[in-house]
């Protein structure tokens, strides 16, 4: 471009343009002028920018210390993890929110299992205090989310320390180790811990109850800080013994529930129900019938359903790694095989964005 704008852009238009740039470009342009610096480091700008950033799947590579980014379309790329003395990273306890990734690792120095939160882009990282006894860390997953009431990021750890009840432990990111708060789950359930989904300030897990024998949804309202149980859609409750062929997903501001079952006609039927709020009924919104070669992939049910970019992506593994792209509007789908061979065991994938959000500075440990 050889020409230029003759007049200056007002600040609000500069902000609108910066909101539409990728995180790296915004950070690069911070040195343009003091006005651009103040706009791009304003906390509310950073949050708005984070919420607008495009989503992709993040999977941790099993044999190398890197993340693999899987966009809805296009090639995968790798992002390095800043290890800083972390020897082993737990794959189960990994969570991503607004571009911050949280994982559980073991350090060389202390041989302690600790939580880390970092932004893979800027590689700024903090270490989080452990929530009590070692047992709680062994069988737990972590979930990072934005607590709207407090205006801060919170890290959750749900575990079954004192059987039969689960305990939910929550701490504000960057705060002192003694500030883990404990909530006792008042229902006796068996939680599918990895199924946690955050929609409209509520956290949802699928769970099984023994008496009466049923599958339901455990809800934690982060604003009211209370638990409740929710029913599944009535015609979505027939699930096989396998624990994997149903789950929850966040779908553009609504809670979604999906099931995948093998039909008599040797095809796989995937159904999705959505619900806007807990007062509403479930609506069966989408349905897909996968036949032929696609069906064999579902025989090894290790998948993650994620909804982004107006479509639905399911990641599952047979001899390789596959992405099912399902355009929800048109109903068309295609299966893409990913050229990755370094995934020995399928780690959980997370929805991730590239943002300017940094972990808050660590106050004290």
């Amino acid at each position: 471009m050889d020409s230029s704008f003759d007049l200056h852009l007002p600040e609000d238009l500069t902000r609108e343009i910066l909101l539409r740039l990728p995180a790296k470009s915004v950070a690069m342009f911070r040195c343009v002028s003091t006005v651009w610096l103040s706009i791009s480091t304003d906390p509310s700008f950073i949050l708005s920018h984070a919420r607008r950033a495009p989503k992709f799947l993040l999977v941790r590579s099993a044999c190398a210390d890197k993340y693999i980014k899987l966009p809805a379309s296009g090639l995968s790329t790798t992002v390095g993890i800043n290890k800083r003395g972390v020897v082993r990273i737990s794959d189960e306890a990994m969570s991503s929110c607004d571009g911050l990734v949280c994982f559980r690792g073991i350090t060389e120095r202390f041989a302690l299992k600790t939580y880390y939160a970092h932004n893979p882009l800027s590689n700024l990282q903090i270490r989080m205090p452990t929530p009590g006894s070692m047992y709680t860390l062994k069988n737990s997953v972590c979930e990072l989310y934005w607590n709207r009431r407090r205006g801060e990021y919170q890290l959750l750890n749900i575990s079954q320390h004192c059987r039969p009840n689960y305990h939910l432990r929550a701490v504000v990111l960057g705060s002192h180790y003694s500030s883990w708060e404990i909530y006792r789950v008042p229902f006796v359930t068996d939680l599918k811990k990895q199924s946690c989904v955050l929609v409209n300030d509520c956290l949802y897990w699928t769970c099984r109850r023994s008496y009466p024998k049923s599958i339901g949804i455990l809800v934690f309202d982060t604003l009211k800080e209370s638990f409740s149980l929710m029913q599944l859609p009535s015609n979505g409750r027939k699930v096989s013994a396998s624990f994997e062929n149903y789950g929850l997903v966040e779908m553009e501001g609504e809670l979604g529930y999906w099931t995948a079952e093998l039909c008599k006609s040797r095809s796989v039927r995937v159904e999705i129900w959505t619900q806007m709020s807990s007062d509403e009924k479930w609506r069966n919104t989408h349905s897909l019938c996968l036949a032929g070669d696609a069906m064999s992939l579902f025989c090894f049910p290790k998948f993650l359903f994620a909804c982004f970019e107006g479509g639905f992506v399911c990641l599952f593994k047979d001899e390789g790694l596959y992405l099912l792209h399902w355009d929800l509007k048109s109903g068309k789908y295609y299966i893409e095989k990913l050229p990755m061979t370094d995934i020995a065991v399928l780690p959980p994938a997370r929805i991730h964005r590239e943002t300017l959000v940094n972990p808050p500075s660590y106050l004290s440990y």
Partner: protein, 224 residues
């Protein structure tokens, strides 16, 4: 509608909306409010008066109703460079600023609305966008695809026109066009260096050497 002769710099195809400024737009009979209209804004009876606001509101309502007597009311706008632009009310109301002015009856006594920040050329371009986007096309793939390709061609302009569209759509509050223009500028500057940014936007580097060093150190990762 006669093609305009006054604005020389704008191509003829963009003048579709503009009447000759000498033509008087005569309203032959008072617009009839169709009681069967499905438009929500026609819920309460709106008195048919002679003020600009009433006429435009009535015309806007009757347009969505199915009466055969609906009259397309035109608005006259005075641009920053002293030229008058005439445009259909429904098209102009895509601008939230104009809509609010009409609803609050800010036109005052005269029938001409002053738009002191936007040139006539930019106005006609903006209204061309508004006219194309009058149809909502929600869910209809053919319409949304057509709108999308229109938008792509529409925003592929030189930097001066892009600036005018940006400032104009911001002032007139035309959300879709503002979004389109901002995204276009973002796409243009995405891969550039900070020096090029300063040149394009005419910005002075106003950091002290210490401040500059600190900013570069903190954002070093962006340059890798």
């Amino acid at each position: 509608m006669a093609a305009v002769t006054e604005t020389e710099s704008v191509e003829k195809k963009k003048n579709r909306l503009m009447n000759s400024s000498e033509e008087e737009v005569a309203v032959e009979k008072p617009p009839v409010i169709n009681p069967m209209s499905e438009d929500d804004s026609a819920g309460a009876a709106i008195p048919v008066g002679n003020s600009l606001s009433d006429q435009v509101m009535a015309a806007a309502i009757s347009e969505t109703g199915e009466t055969e007597e609906s009259e397309k009311k035109n608005l006259r706008l005075m641009s920053s460079d002293g030229k008058e632009v005439v445009v259909e009310a429904a098209v102009a109301m895509k601008s939230q600023l104009i809509r609010q002015m009409i609803e609050a009856d800010c036109a005052g006594g005269s029938d001409v609305i002053n738009i002191p920040n936007v040139t006539a050329a930019a106005l006609s371009l903006i209204f061309r966008y508004c006219e194309k986007h009058l149809v909502d096309g929600d869910g209809d793939k053919a319409i949304t695809d057509d709108l999308k390709s229109f938008d792509e061609d529409f925003i592929s302009v030189d930097l001066d026109t892009l600036y005018d569209l940006l400032m104009g759509s911001n002032y007139l509050d035309v959300k879709g066009l503002l979004d389109l223009a901002c995204q276009k500028v973002a796409d243009l500057i995405k891969g550039k260096s900070p020096d090029e940014i300063r040149r394009i936007f005419n910005i002075e580097k106003d950091f002290s050497p210490e401040e500059e060093e600190e900013v570069n150190k903190e954002n070093k990762w962006a340059f890798e």
